[in-house]
Subunit: 607 residues, 2 copies
């Protein structure tokens, strides 16, 4: 077994290696590599881990070109548009003069002190680009992966994800066509490396970034994005609410190898200076087009918060905790009118279909405490999301459904079961859920528990929660902790679901552990740096990394060592299928050998 | 609602307050308090959280006298023997001249350089004490809580835990009598504050401490114990394997308010210089008596590792990962004989019954990787544990059963279901289980997921796992992280099981969150210090702690604020039970009021 394809063997092909990773000093043992597809330029990145025993393990890779030493990345220029040729080759889109970028797109409502408007074009220095959209209108003119899948086309994007997921392209097409999976890929975000979200595939993880009125900067947000994807985030949502929203998003998109999601309502609200009642369908639509032209791949739309549901939240313990949900509830109340998002949903579908923006139908009425879980407000909205999902699907717009929130363990399964039933198996995208409210500062853990469970039962993508949830904005360390925690939940679910190859990753690491191959353990770990650091704190010397014992028990009491001795002494003779007599006989023989060898249960360190 | 009894209301009595906690500067808002029982001196400690709205919440407290400013603790004197009068009043035990303490008990095999043996009596300076044991032998002479419960006696210990768990003393007695719960309380550990382990009660958490040949000291171990119980550890296992085992254990026991568990096999192995094949029943028995005389409350005994099961592990991915299991397997192999623990189990029961030491029947063949989960070796041992449990129960020895280990999510339920069936509902005490092997340095999380699930399904006590698992010895921070993670898992399970009062803790915190009572949120949090620290990183100023918005969204976009506005505007009018017309009418009216009030969805900060 020389190419042990753990987790997601990219294909039967051996990946082409890109050479040693950038941080060679720290990361000897793994390399960026690519698996070639059938089409020119279709190269799927993988993380190739080389073990000291000569074997190698191939892992799914979300880190983008940043971990490829042969690619010269420049955050001011942006990433190469890997999908551009595929998009233009389809011939169903056209470039056009986009909506002019206005100062208020960046939250600037007045002329600058020096007079005149800021030149927003100069803020992101990368190559100028005209936006692109579907040439023809209507359902048949949709340029979405859903439309292509329904027509029986296997796009390069579908082939790409098929290689990533180690399934046939036809399975990918079928799942998308049935609406059970989405492949978020705006025609204006050609930099994205295609990925798929659906219960038939590996469970995905989203990381939220975003400045707020209180803190953060553009550079920090871009850095958070690359940092999050380095640790395994499959998509990133930019939830910025302060100044420079448009410009921040432009930088993030031009540098992101993963799909970017947003909540357009946040920016729309900025445009009316935070006065929810002044929001209009026109302002909202303008914002959606602005973001679609930039390349946002999926958008959270809280169209399920209907006027009639608002009173259902009045006597909740924690009311409405979704920002988008509370804004729409305030609007409905102020006007005593049905939600403009619900009323204009069909038109919104037509816009999204022209760019292949995927819906993430928001759960504006999700519970904000376990006391409010699975209540009337939550499920009333879910039923509406089911209705909207059918409309979007009919109009060829890819759609996923957002889910809670705070849910105690015994009420989690009802969430996924109902969602799958009501929403015709559309991908479920859940925040946690948090299984208890008593541990602020540890909500990555309270929610990681719920996330693993709901993903096992069918959730397709998990929105991470960081330790700072409920307390403050996540910094770099929090983003990493959130992503790692959620990668654990997602992978635990992949294993429990029996995803092909998922457990092979665990097996490779367990083999390394049992054979005291410390370097291999570190290199296979979800977070090699921290694993190595923790080990070195107890046994800092280099020879300890090849020592035949663990730092927990020391050289004399190591159970693994004793156990290896047993394995080796029984070596070759399988107990399976042997009769009781054969086993007894074999044991007697081994027992004698054992005594003759001096009853040594601790292998010498030179062994 | 002035005494909101969250989680485990101690009784209908109002607790007597002990006054402000020791760290008054940091901990304003909670106090150590006591609930008095019916017997003199029976005072059950609780943590009383005083909220800014005048309400209070009573929480279970494991921290011992250390958090009571009225008690003057001295680690060199030990804690007061709160149970002593109850034990002597029963009149069924006697003091006797114990087994002499020998240098080899502390791993010292040679005379000291200054000549002569070290004076071990001087090592722990606290009051000298004769050991105590049951006066009469045999089953009827057992001085165990199981024996008393069967005779229909409600001991002070049972009343104590009934108050702690907010159930009737009769329920406690019944559960113990049926073998479904254990109350570990060695007659030689009178310092322990009684607690109960059983699926009918709150899920408990054990923290392991213990020096190893490589690192650590006596003082550090005692400090780890008080630190672990401060954060909520319900029991502590001292797994020391290096020098000074006896003395370390003496210091830990004399200062521990929680039951102490050990694995006597580790010390026995020290006495034969680490040569497993030289272990004998006599050396083991001597060690058990040594530890029972010191006051160890429960002991892990790997009597289920039978000779015939050893070959079943030879072809596992990770063999035998339990230290005790591998030692016994090596012994069986070396002698080609049945385990001396299995052969002498009846005699062992008689010893344990004389001190009320509780069995923790060890799972020496637990899986060390998800690949090995639920295999033949594991379940063969479990069946033997079921057999041994029946013997122990017949002989009036309290018994719990240890469980895995590494188990993927879809195989967890089979573990608890089989254990409950095979072991006649004896309490299950599980390590994790870890749901994936790929995240060394994060195994508190990989296992916290499994722990929450298996506890929901019936596990009575969870053995914590720290971030250092597989990598090194836990330090102070790791112990805290491990305990907090497992308290989350345990409490999430209490909520999911519907334990009386469990969710009230969540509700109190959610109320505080929705009402922007930041100080109350911190004081109710599982870890107030870290919650406060995280909040202060974003909004350090003191006024921010009463600010009516969260630091995530800033003052303008806070959904909780908008939502509170909705709640307040609908205030008083319940949507429940109202007709569609009434709701529509009410909404129209509210909508007008809303507009008349200026459509303000953001409450001013002075609101």
């Amino acid at each position: 077994m020389t190419n042990k394809d753990a987790r997601t063997p990219a294909s039967t092909q051996k990946p082409t290696e890109a050479s040693v990773g950038k941080e060679a000093g720290k990361s000897i043992g793994w390399h960026k590599a690519y698996v070639e597809g059938t089409r020119p330029g279709l190269r799927v990145p993988v993380r190739q881990v080389h073990l000291t025993n000569g074997q190698s393990v191939t892992l799914y890779d979300t880190s983008g070109p940043y971990t490829d030493p042969l690619v010269d990345t420049d955050v001011r220029r942006g990433l190469a548009p890997v999908r551009e040729n595929w998009i233009t080759a389809r011939g169903d889109t056209e470039e056009y003069t986009g909506r002019p970028v206005r100062p208020e797109d960046d939250g600037i409502r007045h002329t600058s002190p020096r007079g005149g408007l800021r030149n927003l074009d100069a803020v992101f220095p990368g190559r100028p680009r005209q936006p692109r959209r579907g040439r023809a209108g209507g359902v048949s003119g949709a340029v979405t992966q859903l439309a292509y899948a329904r027509r029986g086309e296997i796009t390069p994007e579908m082939e790409y994800v098929a290689i990533r997921e180690n399934v046939s392209p036809e399975v990918v097409r079928e799942e998308i066509a049935a609406g059970r999976a989405v492949l978020p890929a705006n025609v204006n975000h050609p930099e994205t490396e295609p990925m798929i979200i659906g219960k038939r595939f590996l469970v995905k993880v989203n990381a939220n970034i975003g400045n707020s009125a209180v803190t953060s900067s553009i550079e920090e947000e871009v850095e958070k994005m690359t940092w999050a994807t380095r640790w395994g985030a499959d998509t990133v949502m930019d939830l910025s609410t302060g100044r420079n929203i448009h410009t921040t998003r432009e930088w993030v998109l031009r540098n992101s190898p993963v799909p970017i999601g947003t909540v357009p309502l946040y920016q729309a609200l900025e445009k009316v200076d935070g006065r929810a009642e002044e929001l209009t369908w026109e302002i909202y639509k303008d914002t959606v087009i602005e973001q679609a032209e930039q390349g946002v791949d999926y958008m959270t739309v809280h169209a399920g918060v209907r006027l009639a549901y608002v009173p259902l939240t009045a006597h909740r313990k924690t009311g409405i905790v979704s920002r988008g949900g509370s804004i729409m509830a305030a609007w409905c109340l102020a006007h005593h009118k049905e939600s403009f998002l619900y009323e204009n949903f069909g038109e919104l579908c037509e816009i999204l279909a022209a760019y292949d923006v995927t819906y993430s139908l928001g759960d504006g009425l999700r519970p904000g405490s376990i006391a409010d879980a699975n209540d009337e407000a939550q499920f009333a909205e879910l039923r509406t999301l089911g209705e909207l999902n059918r409309i979007a699907r009919r109009l060829n717009v890819q759609t996923m459904i957002e889910g809670p929130g705070h849910v105690p363990m015994h009420k989690i399964k009802e969430n996924i079961d109902l969602q799958q039933e009501i929403c015709d198996e559309a991908p479920f995208y859940t925040l946690g859920p948090l299984t208890t409210d008593v541990a602020p500062a540890y909500d990555h853990i309270t929610s990681g528990i719920g996330a693993a469970m709901i993903a096992w039962w069918g959730t397709a993508m998990l929105c991470y929660v960081t330790p700072k949830e409920h307390l403050g904005l996540p910094d770099r360390d929090d983003v990493k902790t959130g992503v790692i925690t959620y990668k654990i939940a997602a992978h635990a679910a992949d294993v429990a679901k029996g995803h092909p190859g998922a457990q092979e990753w665990d097996d490779a690491l367990s083999d390394a552990r049992f054979e005291f191959r410390w370097e291999d353990q570190f290199n296979l770990a979800l977070d090699p740096d921290t694993a190595r650091e923790f080990h070195d704190k107890t046994l800092p010397a280099e020879p300890a990394k090849t020592a035949h014992f663990c730092s927990m028990c020391g050289p004399k009491f190591c159970s693994m060592k004793i156990s290896r001795s047993i394995t080796e002494r029984f070596g070759g003779t399988s107990a399976e299928g042997a009769s009781a007599e054969e086993i007894a006989e074999g044991m007697l023989r081994k027992s004698k050998e054992f005594a003759e060898a001096g009853n040594r249960v601790y292998l010498p360190l030179t062994d």
